[in-house]
């Protein structure tokens, strides 16, 4: 598969969404919580509490929706500022109750629109990034489809970032890159290639810690092993002192472009 095939696979409507992962991994233990306490409940972001084996966790996901009706409701996974603020509220709550955080990332990007700008899309993303940098509880982010720029990063300032093998993470969409740089939308595939946006490229660049095999819809064993892997990683990070945890996360990002 070339880079653009990966982009296509990552965007496929058959791809499992955050809700699919939450249902399969946490079953009935997931209790959804709503709203940012400031403006609204953004359905592009799902969040709540759940049990990972015997450990209470906070789970947050960017949700694209699984059919047309859901996709419309969830704005195709493109969050508004209130979505990011809801996520931050739940993360702060997790910190308070010393729960680790698991984020699922799947978005083409933060929504571009009048309301989103009016309500401070840039400020909301900036605040998430800054606060996550110093959050005193372990965080894992898993990219399960598309990771579109700042709108994805706002849920991915984590101790470890993992990606499904057919997922992508990029500073700009290949379409955007081709049209801005070359003014030529026919060169999208080429842009996908040079942006180095596949899980495999990003692993090589040291931007992610693991590539996860794509689980099939009803491959329950795969979700079980993912849970075990998450559990082990969270446990390892839970043993660090709060300062060590935050310092390690700082250094994880500090190293990019430090040469």
């Amino acid at each position: 598969m070339n880079a653009f095939d990966k982009v296509t696979a990552a965007r496929s409507v058959d791809k499992l969404t955050s809700m699919d992962f939450i249902e399969r991994m946490f079953k009935d233990s997931f209790i959804e919580l709503h709203g940012d306490r400031r403006f609204a409940d953004d359905k592009a972001v799902i969040g709540g509490v759940a049990m990972l084996h015997d450990t209470p966790v906070t789970v947050i996901g960017l949700e694209k929706g699984r059919n047309l009706k859901e996709r419309m409701e969830r704005n195709f996974g493109m969050a508004h500022p209130e979505g990011y603020r809801k996520a931050l509220r739940l993360m702060k709550q997790a910190e308070k109750f010393k729960r680790p955080i698991i984020c699922f990332v799947d978005t083409s990007g933060a929504y571009c629109g009048i309301g989103a700008e009016e309500r401070g899309q840039g400020q909301a993303i900036a605040e998430n990034i800054m606060e996550m940098m110093a959050l005193k509880t372990p965080i894992i982010s898993i990219f399960i489809g598309e990771g579109g720029s700042g709108g994805a990063l706002a849920l991915a300032v984590a101790d470890e970032v993992w990606m499904l093998e057919n997922s992508v993470y990029s500073v700009i969409s290949p379409e955007g890159c081709a049209s801005i740089l070359w003014k030529d939308s026919s060169r999208t595939a080429e842009a996908a290639e040079v942006l180095k946006l596949t899980a495999q490229d990003l692993f090589k660049l040291g931007v992610i810690e693991r590539i996860i095999r794509e689980p099939k819809k009803d491959e329950y064993k795969a979700f079980e092993s993912l849970k075990v892997l998450i559990g082990r990683t969270l446990e390892k990070n839970s043993r660090l002192s709060e300062n060590e945890l935050v310092e390690t996360r700082y250094n994880r990002f500090r190293k990019f472009g430090n040469s």
Partner: protein, 296 residues
């Protein structure tokens, strides 16, 4: 006699997202300092370039704020002879081997006379020592690459270690796509350094200038304790053109200007360039530690 293309700064706002390099245009065109007349995008009048330059690049007729290079802004804000640059030797590399990037960097360096899109250092403002980061609009439209992020991060770390306030003057088209994901990571890196500085109880002031967009808006630009903007500056996450294309409708006239953000509650004040230094001085002074006196 007036050639509307001479000042590439003067393009209408909606064109500001990085444009592809056309042969022999924009990027490679030399800046001509002695061009006599410029058309002011504010009042549409022809004004004498020399008057505008003399007036800190503000239109003498209507007060329109033209863009300011990093050097000019440092000259405007820092007490004479007090600016000491840090990390001037850091140079961007083409880490992901992006086509044309090496050449683009070189021409940006030639065109701007700067080594990167930000200049960092320490200076004094009204005698008060502060760290300062100033972005340059002529260097790849102030885009944030790894070295931009690194210099800003180091400036914050220096300020934290030395218990100094910090001022960041932003102008940026956003993250630099030629560095792929590594440019995105700079948003996290710089924000982490801002947070540490903040947790140390130190003052961070941002000065947003036209245009501040994308990954810079969605990171350190919006993280200041106090956020100032120059009049009429475009401040956005998604640029107006991208939004118009997405929602297929015209945007309200005032949309995404500094004044609009002030009304919506996202910035503290809009300050004229002529008052900027004094405003910063007053804020710095008010945040000095108890019992601290100026070393004069």
């Amino acid at each position: 006699m007036f050639n509307g293309d001479i000042f590439t700064f003067l393009k209408p706002k909606n064109e500001l997202e990085s444009q592809p390099a056309k042969k022999g245009s924009e990027e490679n065109r030399p800046y001509i300092p002695d061009a006599m007349w410029v058309k002011c995008p504010g009042c549409k009048d022809m004004i004498l370039a020399a008057d505008m330059e003399e007036n800190n690049r503000v239109c003498v007729k209507c007060g329109h704020h033209f863009r300011l290079s990093a050097n000019k802004r440092i000259e405007l804000l820092a007490d004479i002879g007090t600016f000491e640059e840090m990390d001037a030797d850091l140079q961007s590399k083409n880490v992901i081997d992006f086509p044309e990037y090496t050449r683009k960097l070189k021409s940006a360096q030639i065109q701007s006379g700067e080594s990167e899109s930000v200049k960092t250092g320490v200076c004094k403002i009204g005698g008060i020592k502060t760290v300062i980061c100033v972005m340059d609009p002529t260097f790849m439209m102030g885009s944030m690459g790894s070295v931009t992020g690194e210099k800003i991060t180091r400036a914050f770390e220096y300020a934290t270690r030395n218990a100094l306030p910090i001022i960041a003057c932003t102008v940026s088209g956003g993250a630099r796509m030629q560095e792929g994901i590594l440019s995105l990571m700079q948003m996290a890196k710089t924000s982490g350094a801002v947070k540490k500085h903040s947790d140390a109880g130190l003052l961070y002031i941002t000065v947003l200038t036209d245009p501040t967009t994308g990954g810079v808006t969605a990171s350190f630009a919006m993280e200041g304790d106090i956020i100032i903007s120059e009049p009429n500056a475009l401040i956005a996450f998604a640029g107006p053109r991208v939004i118009e294309q997405t929602i297929r409708q015209k945007l309200p006239k005032n949309f995404q200007t500094a004044e609009f953000l002030l009304e919506k509650g996202f910035i503290d004040m809009v300050v004229q360039r002529s008052d900027l230094k004094e405003t910063l001085y007053k804020l710095l002074k008010l945040h000095m530690f108890e019992g601290e006196v100026l070393p004069v």
